[in-house]
Subunit: 443 residues, 4 copies
Amino acid sequence: MRSMIPDYLDGALSDVVADDSGATAAYIPELAAADPDRLGAAFATIDGQVYGAGDVEVEFTIQSISKPFAYALALSDRGFGPVLAKVGVEPSGEAFNEISLEDETGRPLNPMINAGAMTTHSLTGPDGADPARRVERVIDGLSAFAGRRLRVDEATCASEMEHAHRNLAIAHMLRSHEILTEDPRGVVDGYLRQCSVLVTARDLAMMAATLANRGVNPLSGRRVVGERVVRQVLSVMATCGMYDAAGDWATQVGIPAKSGVAGGLIGALPGQLGIATFSPRLDGHGNSVRGVSLFERFTSDMGLHLMEVPPAARAVVRSNRARGSAGDAVRVLRLQGGIRFAGAERFVREVIDSPPAEPRVVVDVSEVYSIDDVSRRMLLELVRRLTLDGHDVYLVDPEAVVPDPDPGEGGRVTVVDDIDEVPVVRGEAGARDVALAGRADDA
Amino acid sequence: MRSMIPDYLDGALSDVVADDSGATAAYIPELAAADPDRLGAAFATIDGQVYGAGDVEVEFTIQSISKPFAYALALSDRGFGPVLAKVGVEPSGEAFNEISLEDETGRPLNPMINAGAMTTHSLTGPDGADPARRVERVIDGLSAFAGRRLRVDEATCASEMEHAHRNLAIAHMLRSHEILTEDPRGVVDGYLRQCSVLVTARDLAMMAATLANRGVNPLSGRRVVGERVVRQVLSVMATCGMYDAAGDWATQVGIPAKSGVAGGLIGALPGQLGIATFSPRLDGHGNSVRGVSLFERFTSDMGLHLMEVPPAARAVVRSNRARGSAGDAVRVLRLQGGIRFAGAERFVREVIDSPPAEPRVVVDVSEVYSIDDVSRRMLLELVRRLTLDGHDVYLVDPEAVVPDPDPGEGGRVTVVDDIDEVPVVRGEAGARDVALAGRADDA
Amino acid sequence: MRSMIPDYLDGALSDVVADDSGATAAYIPELAAADPDRLGAAFATIDGQVYGAGDVEVEFTIQSISKPFAYALALSDRGFGPVLAKVGVEPSGEAFNEISLEDETGRPLNPMINAGAMTTHSLTGPDGADPARRVERVIDGLSAFAGRRLRVDEATCASEMEHAHRNLAIAHMLRSHEILTEDPRGVVDGYLRQCSVLVTARDLAMMAATLANRGVNPLSGRRVVGERVVRQVLSVMATCGMYDAAGDWATQVGIPAKSGVAGGLIGALPGQLGIATFSPRLDGHGNSVRGVSLFERFTSDMGLHLMEVPPAARAVVRSNRARGSAGDAVRVLRLQGGIRFAGAERFVREVIDSPPAEPRVVVDVSEVYSIDDVSRRMLLELVRRLTLDGHDVYLVDPEAVVPDPDPGEGGRVTVVDDIDEVPVVRGEAGARDVALAGRADDA
Amino acid sequence: MRSMIPDYLDGALSDVVADDSGATAAYIPELAAADPDRLGAAFATIDGQVYGAGDVEVEFTIQSISKPFAYALALSDRGFGPVLAKVGVEPSGEAFNEISLEDETGRPLNPMINAGAMTTHSLTGPDGADPARRVERVIDGLSAFAGRRLRVDEATCASEMEHAHRNLAIAHMLRSHEILTEDPRGVVDGYLRQCSVLVTARDLAMMAATLANRGVNPLSGRRVVGERVVRQVLSVMATCGMYDAAGDWATQVGIPAKSGVAGGLIGALPGQLGIATFSPRLDGHGNSVRGVSLFERFTSDMGLHLMEVPPAARAVVRSNRARGSAGDAVRVLRLQGGIRFAGAERFVREVIDSPPAEPRVVVDVSEVYSIDDVSRRMLLELVRRLTLDGHDVYLVDPEAVVPDPDPGEGGRVTVVDDIDEVPVVRGEAGARDVALAGRADDA
């Protein structure tokens, strides 16, 4: 049997293939000469599965899609302070090659426009690295995002350098504001090498999936950049990634995205997947015509819009039951699923609203697959308050999803691997044992 | 026992109370005379629980916070086409009172700046409604979002009208472009009444929670606007809600938000909660100084940032087990949790990668609390393909979480309420019966 | 015999009449319905002679051509300080209906754009005048420039008011910046009445001639505004009169000018003449197509360009001769023409370079028709220095072209009506004849 | 005896010397290290007399003052078409180092901003000249304007090149728009050599005087550029020479001018004189503080403002008298002074209004020192019409101020050197004396 996802992708490509509007980028022969009929799309899940259709193995230059990744590298290599001091995060409402510098400081408005991207390139690698080493660092970094060794298309790179007047203009302007502090030509050269890295739609989907997967490449398992960096990069892609069409994209597609002039387009959906399309004909904003159509289709068909409100997790509290009686009575609260603030709040509320009468309280998180920090703290604070109210509290946590379970001053909790380890429960009715036995089977 | 959430809010207020920087809005006496020391914060969950601390019952004027809600009403009353034809969705990178119209058309760039907000106001209610009825419609709508009857502060409204020169200028400019097609004074007057609606921080939290809850007021259960409208409104809040500080907010706070000049500030976290703060001293952007601090604190403490990638739902497939043997063999796949594309993909992949050898396949969704449309379709397509491969397929769905379970041409599925209804399984080991019995208890 | 100037004008009109490009202004019916084929041109000299050809007696509305005259009235009525505090003098490089206000202050960039013109209108008449009286003042003032009583076209005015959304927008914006301090509607109404004043091409030529004639109407002899005001108005017309085509006009035509949307166009050439044309079809800048052609022709045919360097007045010193001998010797310096700095300098230089040996020095200005203030001062200072060097100095000035001939401390001069009144010269009848006969030698 | 002009200049310098506000340019050490107390001023008349006070022999770099002169050279070397195709003439309202390019074409708005000045530099010399030869051409040209061989300050030039990031940025931007079509670095280098030419205030005054003298250096008598070029250059100086203070300068000073960052400032008053000042401390616009004060003083003291309307030449017609009687009767019209359109018009009008009854008409221009082309044509047309009316016409023109005196078809004129050569008049000796004695009556 075959998965319907490739079929879906095939169908999507079929639906857009007839649209031959737009044109390949014309400013250098290498791009102008690209086969305009190429068409491909790929999904990469955050556990590394890749689905593709069409030309997903054809190499083309990454161009501006390198910008968010180089930004991630710069943030990672130099830290937030030095990078934010030189490149802002505000949407410019302008085309990619506008200068868009802040009035007084000359700081580029964001890292997605060329001025910001060149500055970002100059901030990759260790401070003081020479241009060649810096390029090496960037190619290494992009390769790490992709999960395979990438290389530069030297012909495109040489041609770009010949037509780099506008970028040289911008770089000299940045130098005049001391946003760049070195020879602008070296920065432009390095930046154009970065843009000339060859990728396939498959590579791009994997690079996007690395962002969607909190910075860890799903295939290699290697952490490329930290989570805080990923959050910053995705935020900037969401507001500045599509240049002067940012608002249209945000409302209609709603996925942090980035396009490149060679026809690539990526989207990264946090916690879910990376998407890439490839089709070289561009619209007036410089975005791939069929790529934009595909993304609109994907978001509509698949409910990927960031503001598509998911149904609430109503069932965080799987069960809330009393067992035993009198002095032996135990209150057992079983939680499940992934717990974030909204879920933790409901759990806490349930306990507050119906305070346990039983002397012992068991919080069973063995079916919780994740709990974020605020929820962990709320849970532990609840434990502390239960202790202060005179309860003995047990935490069933066989996989240690609640790290460092210290409820703080006045609180106390006994962590056990199995509910059977809670004293009295052990002797209880077999129903629970059976239940537990059943549960173990299910896991 | 007391919930720790009010304690948390109290603590947060304590931490910011000392910051008396900024100043109340000075352009009308009513705002200038506001008590600058007021401070309050409220959370409203999407099932209607409100937590508050400080001045959450003090009334103040809603001001620009009315903008996203009026935008929602206009989209709802007139449809997307007519509204988008007159108001864009692009960030302006400019302050709230900039004119920011598109060059040729005079279309305001977005509904969060005054030009866009006045145009939006003019698009509420039925086409052709007189100004007074339109105002009534807006107040009704805001009241529906809040879940209680709101009223206008007539003194503030009168004072606003006296100082409305800039808004009148903008409205006349819109009239000259035929974006407005009626007397501009009536629109300005109605818009200022909209801005003069009195709310409390509690109201605002509930209004934001209505957005977070897909347009349904958590308390009244009444649908105020549709889901597509909510998605549009939240998208625009995310990119345009904080004016010229949009990028800073998007990276540092990451919650769709809107501020008002009387000191209110709201944030709506899709599927989770609504947040509101109230503190009248404003910073240079016109945002509440302590409100911004509180939101930064909330997002950091509580992991609310939109791009904070949640841990993946690894356990969508709760179990995948064979039962019985030979001709009686059944493959039982039990799903759990909320299923969106990424989860559905994993389930599908599991089936594809390990195709069931058994003639009968049971897909048990009784522990699934939600499934979105794409996942439903993937599930049904999988069913169809299983049928085509010769399997008999059963769907255990007692709560009908999979609506309209038609697998399409060539597919066939038997929907049952309980796994016991699947023929052969019935005779199986009692363990399962017990498990099921236990499960029912847990629900 | 007939003057060739009307013939010239007729010929010029014939040459442009075939050009029917452009279109009448379309924003109100009264202008749209104007006969587009009307064509007229008029010259008015600074002593009141008017030459006309074509439709010079047809009335049309003055529109923006009222702006420089109202600016003159405001400067005259309120003084430079209060007017410059509210309206700047910088070219905006923008179209007439752009708002073009200074960032912080809201001050309109110049009085030729609508924002500046409305502010200027509000500054005419005495401070505190009501709108109706102010309009009366402006119509009186425009009439004084034209030399006949002008009146308002009520139909056009009413129609303008109906389509005044953009002007109302601008006026409210000015009110919000407190550049206007009264009800904006009253200012717009008054301004539109000002624009609706009916004039003919003959009127406009006379109005321009009044500016060219230092503010005195050539026909009535009445001073309408002061010379300093005229200098300011002409300067602003030169840099801001033609909106976004200011540089083209300055280089190609080089005459301070102003156009109106009803088809009028004026130019004022300081000290020479006023020019007006009338042809209702407008180009993309809002200037009369055939009017612009006519002005280009006039400046080229007639050498009217401000930067057309006139041949220098080489013969300021008409003769420099000694008469008599020994103790009776007299040095006679005869000046001629109009004397400005450059001429005075040459005279002074001649005396310095060849200091008179004679005890008496006669400066004869009886053939000088004008002398400006700096030249007067230089002449008197020369007299003073001659006195200090021991000379007796006589000034022959029968028409008192050198007012207040006081050479200052240590200087002394005897003013006489005729050279014969200089003591010793008296007896020398005939010598003068010789001198005159010898004029060719002096040259 | 000493001229009062140097005294005046000394006095003017004394009045401003105390003002030590502003600061020397800081962007390169050579300028920063300039002696800020230097102060000088010079006037150069159009016949080559130079008056100076203070530091008029101190050399400094010409900087932006080279711009109008290089523009003149480009217009002269390449013609108007090619230069206007690449550099506009519109005021930018922006500072000197703004990019200020037209949106679509990338054409710099005017030649006084750096973008326009570098483009202008690239258009000097013959098309295709190499950068070094072009620089030689520019230095030759500037030297011709100054009347002495100028040289480059190599130290300043080298330092400028090190700090040329912004100019390099602009030049690369121009290259990207193909406004420049060669290596931008060569253009910037050449432009900076142009700016590094050493001049004194005396040189600058002479350069300005060359413009004021229609393009002929007053000392060398050599024509540097043509009159049409001078008109264009002065027009652009008038509207764009003082950057964002253009309107203030136009109204308050009213002299076409240009400033340089080393402290120089020039003004050229067509037909009168060139002015230069030198004082290195600059104001916020980059103009010399004391230089601006001096020019304000000069224009006010000396009536140099372009819009300062001079008293009209009322006496163009010196006398209009009949002589002889009956068949011998002659009408003698004596003209005087410099005749431009306004004067010619008065003469023509006098003849038209009082048509001569005498068969012979004598037009005596022996006391006319100049007549422009339009006036010449009007005079000859009058002659033609007089002929057609049956008159014999004589022109007394001993110095041939009326070139090519052909009255055209049907006209006839006899040119004589002296009125005595007119047949009948010859016998009337003495009549002329009477006429002269009666001159006062004619006025």
